[in-house]
């Protein structure tokens, strides 16, 4: 009768173990569960020459630390069931990460064959493993395999079968003193108690020092006081000499050994792509060039997004909606004014105010996806992190802030590149403070009316006013971010370690897919909220029926009159300004149109009218209010969507209004103190 040998397959997840199992056993396999647990147990059979081989596929595990069900099953099977040979399947392309398990396996003093699987993938990555040297240093047979191509399998089986009559290996890692002495003492205690023999005592001693729960139960540590005391004394001795727990000290020694194996046996050629990556990174992550380069790239991204996405493509959307509005107005020429106004102003105007953002979104996401997929965004976070971290923010938050200067909606959407919930929430809540392009018409109007011909030195006052508002927005965003990170999102200091992937040229297909996925979400969800708000404001402006739309007698005007005194300390406590700010909640650029509506004049005449109702100081205070107060409907909708919480969207409205009002009042009152 042919002798049956049991071979156990052991390895990290995704090392190709299952492929190997399937190639070995074909249809001669059955699947069940390991006793008492829901973890799948796969067992199969293969004939090799005159031998029947039973193959057990153990669960994939990164180590034998017995901290998970999979690890316990693997350790239990090897210690208790004692397979004849263990085949350690290794992902050759990630050999460094697989060898930890290998070293622990060797300490179990079981017969091992190392299968360097996926060797073809490793060679493509320019990773070359000296199999002969590795076999010599580890003292085990090493075979290269490609399970998916059935390569090296017979050699692997041959090596496994050849170990049947060989002596069991005796592998002992040098843990240094006093660990080696302590291990000898514990091993001796185990042998004296008859719990282990000279082949198994060292492994059990290692596991007991590492506080392995499975092994503690296996040896019934609680029942053996002398053994327990020996282990405890050993741990204390190690702590007092090395300063650390045995577990971390011993793991460190394993890594030293693995590092030695890698240096001796693994050669990595520099792939052309990696070489180029290193050259580019010398500039991109340079201490002095990194940040200016980042700002340059963001400036270009912003310019392209606004000029191409917003000005060029967006203008076609605007034209389309204007044409649609005219067409529908023509169709409804005989309909009641209210019906026509609802369809043309509220629905078409309202929907248009949402969809006009779509080309901007497409452009921005296309460019962001390009930066992400190419690998640059990881570098951006890397170079900006030190700067942003100084104020309690994540490096990638800088990207969101810069994009917000084009459109707050886009800036908030770009916080999806942030990895943690805390960083994302802070990015979302501070982005609305950044001066966006929608506010520009308001600044332009007031700057022209009050600062148009003035200069400060050689610099135009209007330009300085614009710049001061941008700086103020950034300053408030950073301060708010710092406060939020210390209070609402308070967390302990954390350490930033990240992957810098090699650069690659993204595919057009993936860029278009990413672009569409992110923009689609915006159109679907934000549109419903924005449309609802715009329609609501329109209703307020025409009620009660018969009033002049947008007048003080309309509901909107009455609401404006009601809240106007609130803005008196900021210098603009009139109902017209209040109405404009209310309308600005729908869309910031609509503030200009609102002034035109309430003052009964076209936008081009407004500069002359405004000087009658504002002073330069109150005008600046109004601009500060416009900069900082509650986000527009589109931004509100996106905050709600991105945070998945109405609470946070309302919080954003409330806290930004409070900050806007406070700073507007501060500017006005301090200005008055200085006689401005």
């Amino acid at each position: 009768m042919a002798k049956e040998l049991t071979l156990a397959l052991v390895g990290n997840p995704n090392c190709g173990k299952t492929s190997l199992f399937n190639v070995l056993t074909g249809s001669r396999q059955h699947v069940g569960n390991w006793p008492g647990v829901t973890v799948e147990r796969k067992e199969g059979f293969v004939k090799y020459e005159d031998k029947d081989l039973r193959i057990i596929d153990l669960p994939g595990t990164y180590s034998f630390s017995a901290s998970s069900e999979d690890e316990i099953i693997a350790v239990q099977y090897i210690l208790r069931d004692k397979p004849d040979v263990v085949i350690n399947v290794i992902d050759s392309g990630n050999i460094e990460r697989n060898l930890y398990l290998t070293v622990q396996l060797l300490e179990m003093n079981t017969k091992v064959v190392l299968a360097l699987n996926m060797i073809d993938e490793a060679e493509k990555k320019q990773i070359f493993i000296d199999q002969r040297k590795l076999a010599e240093l580890l003292g085990v047979p090493v075979v290269a395999t490609v399970a998916t191509k059935n390569t090296g399998i017979r050699e692997m089986l041959a090596k496994a079968v050849s170990l049947e009559h060989s002596a069991e290996p005796s592998f002992k890692l040098d843990y240094g003193q006093p660990v080696n002495d302590v291990l000898r003492e514990i091993a001796a205690a185990l042998e004296n108690l008859g719990i282990a023999n000279e082949k198994t005592s060292h492994l059990l001693a290692v596991k007991l020092l590492e506080d392995d729960n499975y092994v503690k139960e296996f040896v019934r540590l609680d029942k053996h006081d002398l053994l327990k005391q020996t282990v405890q004394a050993g741990k204390e001795k190690i702590r007092s000499v090395t300063g650390f727990d045995p577990e971390i000290h011993m793991a460190g020694k394993r890594y030293e050994y693995i590092n030695y194996l890698i240096k001796e046996c693994v050669r990595k050629g520099t792939a052309q792509g990696e070489d180029l990556t290193e050259k580019i990174d010398k500039i991109v992550t340079n201490k002095y060039l990194g940040i200016p380069l980042f700002f340059l790239i963001m400036f270009l991204l912003y310019m392209i997004t606004m000029s191409f996405g917003n000005d060029f493509l967006g203008s076609y959307v605007e034209l389309a909606f204007a044409a649609l509005g005219e067409y529908v107005a023509g169709l409804l020429v005989n309909a009641p004014e209210l019906v026509r106004s609802f369809f043309v102003d509220a629905l078409i105007g309202g929907v248009g105010s949402v969809l006009v953002f779509v080309p901007l979104m497409f452009t921005m996401y296309f460019l962001i996806s390009f930066l992400e997929d190419s690998g640059y965004m990881a570098r951006a976070a890397y170079v900006m992190d030190r700067l942003m971290n100084a104020v309690g923010l994540h490096g990638k938050t800088a990207v969101a802030m810069i994009i917000s200067s084009g459109c707050n909606v886009a800036g908030i959407m770009s916080t999806r590149t942030l990895d943690t919930k805390k960083d994302r929430m802070i990015g979302i809540l501070i982005s609305p403070f950044i001066s966006c392009s929608a506010r520009l018409p308001v600044y332009a109007l007031f700057a022209a009316a009050f600062f148009g011909n003035k200069k400060v030195g050689i610099l135009p006052a209007s330009g300085l006013v614009f710049f001061s508002l941008y700086l103020l927005g950034i300053f408030v965003a950073i301060v708010a971010g710092k406060v939020l990170s210390k209070t609402v999102f308070k967390q302990e200091k954390s350490y930033f370690v990240m992957e810098l992937p090699p650069y690659r040229f993204p595919t057009l297909k993936s860029l278009l897919i990413h672009m569409w996925e992110k923009t689609e979400a915006f159109v679907k969800k934000a549109g419903t909220i924005i449309l609802a708000i715009v329609v609501f404001l329109w209703i307020l402006s025409i009620l009660p029926l018969g009033v002049t739309p947008g007048s003080q007698e309309s509901l909107l005007g009455k609401i404006g009159s009601l809240i106007a005194p609130l803005f008196a300390p900021a210098g603009f406590g009139n109902w017209e300004s209040a109405v404009a700010l209310i309308v600005g909640v729908g869309a910031k650029e609509a503030i200009v149109a609102a002034f035109g509506l309430v003052y009964g004049t076209g936008e081009e005449m407004l500069t002359g009218v405004l000087v009658q109702y504002f002073t330069p100081l109150s005008a600046y205070a109004f601009m500060v209010m416009t900069l900082l107060y509650s986000p527009c409907a589109a931004t509100f909708g996106i905050i709600k969507k991105e945070t998945n919480s109405l609470k946070w969207a309302l919080f954003s409205v409330a806290y930004s209004f409070a900050i806007g009002w406070s700073l507007a009042v501060l500017v006005y009152q301090v200005g008055r103190l200085f006689g401005l």
Partner: protein, 95 residues
Amino acid sequence: MLIKVLKEMANNELHSHTELARKLGLDPELVKQMFLNLETMGYIVSDDPSCVDDQCEECGVCCTKKNKAEQENVSAVATRWKLTEKGKEAVLKSV
């Protein structure tokens, strides 16, 4: 060797695996594996565990962390780590 990784993390706030590996004379892939081990042994935790538990299903954000965690072991892609009390003690002892 693991203590050296913890000490480097505690001394500096910004690292790439490559930079850490270069400083310690190690392979970057080995450094990644060390992070896994340090996490298993309880010396560090990834900074935002809520992003990879069941709450992900209700979270409206399709973040990079969520996407990557679905494909690989999360510790390999987490970009922020915290020292646990055990980790802090180990770093203090090493000074």
